[in-house]
């Protein structure tokens, strides 16, 4: 067996608590499918037959029992439940399933929606015998207005600095802005080996990693690493350029930022493949080199290699903020048009009252079991399963989740309405986020130009924000 797939579905969605306080993040509906359907579908399309899913008990229950969130995945899912309140990072979760891991693994996060050709990432991993291969994508600006945000000000996102070599494939440097208090320090050993380095900041990490089995074994021994993205990958990237043996004097490493793991040398992390001597013989006789201009052999003789595939075209979204969630809903309906196994945009179980055909834009998605009355106008929106939309309702640019009732005459624009909410007659909502099970009173006018409102637990009366 070549690769085992691991899906991390235990994340809390801490950056979009408005949506996730009731529904766990892996089960949030995007285009009327639970969020974790997308990475599972990606894995199924490329040919995986089984996936290890690390999730919480709540999500597991929802996966198997909830009829609305049916997963029509044909792969075998090996679900491993972990405590939801425990402070388990992604690397801790890998340590937890260490016994199940028999070969190299492909770790995917549940909030990844992408149409990447996965063989590009895996080919880098295979061809160069890499220790880690990851996927990144050029970040797109989110253009939709987000409910709850004052103006267009974005929250201060910590930037990631990613350094790649000239070919754009080898990962030389990775650090988050939060770790670089004194400025960006690049080791002399890196510059000596790769004099031309491109540092990029506008990249989105897709949280898709191919890791060698030996890395998982290494994690099992070193319990100090708890997050793949935050600690393991930067650690491996740094270790590519550390000294070969511990005996040598560390002249270049006086500027090392992080000291706690430097007791390990490159030798300890050298993960030998089977029959290393023969591979070495083949490489010596091959007339190929990955760089030129200096006297060293291919890969500078380094055994630990990190590669990255940077997508510049195609979809790649990580749904971990509200704006990403809204953007993903928008894009998903486009994806489905191009997808060969087309899903019904209008579900066959939809009941329409055929007096006047409701106006439905071709970029909307309507789930199963919906009642949509006539004289409604639905544009660029996603409507979930079992919702009821009465007459004369205008829905534009919105996301309506499952089981929502929208009474007559409502006007909903740019909003997110969570499951089981009831929007009273004649309500006018612009750029709002209505939480689970909320009721908007009839004639409720929660519209405001400058303030975008979010309505949560507390029951709402007219005009309360």
């Amino acid at each position: 067996m070549e690769l085992q797939a691991v899906l991390m579905a235990a994340g809390g969605g801490s950056r979009m608590t408005d949506l996730t306080y009731n529904t766990p993040k892996p089960m949030l509906p995007v285009g009327n499918k639970p969020l974790m359907w997308y990475p599972l579908n990606l894995l199924e399309r490329v040919g995986f037959e089984e996936v290890i899913v690390i999730t919480t008990r709540e999500v597991h229950k929802m996966m198997s029992t909830d009829p609305k969130t049916k997963l029509d995945i044909k792969m075998k899912l090996d679900v491993v439940c972990i405590q939801e309140d425990g402070d388990m990072g992604t690397a801790d979760a890998l340590r937890h399933i260490h016994q199940k891991v028999k070969t190299d693994i492909l770790v995917v996060s549940c909030d990844l929606i992408t149409d990447v050709a996965l063989h590009e990432v895996v080919d880098l991993f295979r061809a160069h015998n890499a220790t880690v291969a990851m996927l990144m994508s050029k970040a797109h600006e989110f253009t939709e207005t987000v409910p709850g945000q004052k103006g267009k000000k974005k929250t201060a996102e910590q930037r990631d600095f990613v350094g790649v070599d000239q070919s754009g494939k080898r990962l030389l440097f990775m650090a988050n802005e939060a770790d670089l208090e004194d400025g960006l320090i690049v080791r002399r050993s890196i510059i000596r080996k790769h004099p031309r380095m491109h540092i990029k900041t506008g990249l989105v990490d897709a949280h898709l990693y191919c890791l060698k089995k030996a890395v998982v074994d290494f994690l099992a021994e070193n319990k100090s690493i708890s997050s793949i993205r935050g600690e393991l990958v930067p650690f491996l990237v740094r270790k590519q350029f550390s000294k070969m043996t511990s005996g040598q004097k560390r002249m270049d490493d006086t500027e090392t930022v992080d000291q706690k793991n430097d007791g390990l040398t490159n030798d300890d992390l050298f993960f030998p493949s089977r029959d290393e001597a023969l591979l070495q013989l083949a490489q010596e006789r091959s007339c190929w080199n990955d760089h030129r201009g200096d006297m060293s052999e291919a890969y500078h003789g380094g055994k630990l290699r990190c590669y990255v595939h940077i997508m510049d075209q195609g979809l790649c979204y990580r749904v971990n903020t509200l704006s990403a969630y809204i953007e993903a809903n928008r894009m998903v309906s486009h994806m489905w048009f191009c997808h060969r196994s087309a899903h019904f945009v209008v579900h066959p179980l939809l009941m329409l009252h055929f007096v006047f055909h409701p106006q439905m834009g071709s970029d909307s998605m309507i789930g199963a079991g919906c009642h949509v009355a006539d004289k409604t106008s639905i544009k660029r929106s996603t409507i979930g399963i079992s919702t009821t939309v009465k007459e004369k309702v205008k829905v534009t640019n919105s996301i309506i989740m499952h089981g929502v009732t929208i009474e007559e005459g409502c006007n909903i624009q740019g909003s997110v309405i969570c499951s089981n909410a009831v929007i009273g007659r004649g309500a006018d909502l612009k750029y709002c986020l209505v939480g689970n099970g909320q009721r908007i009173e009839p004639e409720g006018d929660t519209y405001s130009n400058t303030k975008k409102s979010i309505l949560l637990e507390v029951s709402v009366t007219f005009g309360l924000v």
Binding site: E2, L278, Q283, E284, S286, M295
Partner: protein, 421 residues
């Protein structure tokens, strides 16, 4: 375009089993060597639709995807395959490859991307991958290891062939392995059989590649005198090894490395020699007639030695040999015996390899002239990989069996065949 084949008793027929174990009526062809010639390989008959159909059927049966041709081919070479490096075969495979062993997928990728290049490197990497395959192999019930393992290897070989056409050295290595597997006695237990096979592979590499290199280096050092100026072409692992050994033994010489586009392999040879401390000069092949008056010997590596004495090597080698002959400079070819091939060829058109045409596109001063070459009608980019050098231009072949003239290659082959039988 078949070459030298003498057809005797044209009206006689005989039943011959082909490699798929199916009885087939074939006319019996005899060559001067007295052995039976199999049918032409498919990869040089790409313009024949029947052959393509048969190949497609065979690949479908083995569940291997077929790699598609890319770009307009020059008409003289339209019978050869031309692939693009940007469309790897793994695009059509499932990601955790179930049909093909992961080591073979990795090897195929490394071949098609050029990470493992060079005849010796490819053979060693192939044998390494086969060792993994054999270690992971388990005999299914009701099957014999000697027959089942050979059948298991066939789709892998087709896959590797699709990634990049097999070299002559790889072909000989595969023949050797298949023979060893078929000769496993049936009473062997599986573990013993596997251990024996792994041992055989290691012996093959040790004897035919490593020790052969040592023997060739020992013979060649006698031919290198102090004060010599040696010309080498491209990056041949064997020639580099010889020069490094000679330098270590204390011979004083300098090297001229000749290089050619688009591969520019000479840079790698230059790096290895300079790292040792040998003083080198670097020129492109267009300057070879300028530099030849300084040269005292030419050392060339070979991809394969054909049965009629022709040397098949990197494209440009025959050019160097021709110019060297014109300047009366001795040309020595270094080649291990496992690269000797029973094929016969007199020109470089019949059987060759076409590399990715996009390799010829180069950007100078921000301008890429050939960027849209596919739009220009009837414009073909030709990127040949091999060419054949006639034996008149080669003065000596240094092998692990000694120093022989080019025309003695059929003798060596005959001796080898007797050994194998």
């Amino acid at each position: 375009n078949v070459g030298i084949l003498i057809r005797l008793r044209a009206d006689s027929h005989c039943h011959i089993k082909n490699e798929d174990d199916q009885w087939q009526i074939k006319e019996h062809f005899l060559t001067p060597l007295g052995s039976v010639v199999k049918r032409l390989p498919e990869h040089i008959q790409v313009d024949d639709p029947d052959v393509l159909k048969k190949l497609a059927k065979k690949l479908e049966r083995q569940q291997i995807p077929r790699r598609l041709d890319y770009g307009y081919k020059v008409s003289l070479f339209s019978h050869l395959l031309q692939y693009s490096r940007k469309a790897p075969l793994t695009q059509q495979l499932s990601i955790p490859s179930a049909v093909i062993h992961p080591a073979i997928v990795r090897l195929g990728l490394q071949y098609s991307q050029g990470i493992v290049a060079g005849s010796n490197a490819r053979s060693i990497a192939l044998l390494h991958a086969f060792k993994q395959v054999i270690s992971d192999y388990t005999t299914p019930s009701n099957e014999e290891l000697s027959r089942d393992l050979v059948n298991k290897l066939k789709p892998y070989i087709s896959f590797l062939n699709q990634c990049r056409p097999l070299s002559a050295s790889m072909g000989n290595a595969i023949k050797y392995i298949k023979k060893e597997i078929s000769n496993i006695p049936s009473q062997f237990k599986e573990d013993d059989a596997k251990k024996k096979l792994l041992n055989c592979i290691e012996c093959f590499i040790e004897e035919k590649i490593v020790l052969a290199a040592k023997a060739i280096a020992k013979s060649s050092i006698e031919k290198i005198n102090d004060g010599d100026v040696i010309l080498v072409y491209g990056c041949s692992s064997l020639v580099n090894h010889i020069l490094c050994e000679a330098f270590e033994k204390g011979r004083k010489f300098r090297v001229i490395v000749v290089d050619s586009r688009p591969r520019l392999e000479g840079r790698e040879a230059l790096r290895r020699l300079v790292q040792k401390g040998i003083s080198c000069t670097y020129v492109l092949i267009s300057a070879v007639s300028y530099i030849l008056p300084e040269v005292s010997k030419v050392f060339l590596g070979a991809h394969a030695l054909l049965a009629n004495g022709y040397v098949m090597s990197r494209v440009g080698t025959s050019q160097i040999a021709l110019v060297a002959k014109a300047f009366n400079v001795p040309v020595l070819v270094c080649c291990e015996t496992y690269k000797f091939c029973e094929r016969v060829q007199t020109d470089s058109f019949v059987s060759n390899e076409l590399d990715d045409p996009d390799d010829l596109i180069v950007t100078r001063k921000g301008e890429t002239q050939l960027k849209d070459w596919q739009q220009v009608p009837r414009l073909g980019l030709l990127n040949l990989v091999y060419d054949v050098t006639p034996p008149d231009f080669v003065d000596l072949v240094i092998t692990d069996l000694g120093m022989i003239p080019c025309t003695s290659v059929p003798v060596v082959l005959r001796v080898k065949n007797v050994d194998l039988l």
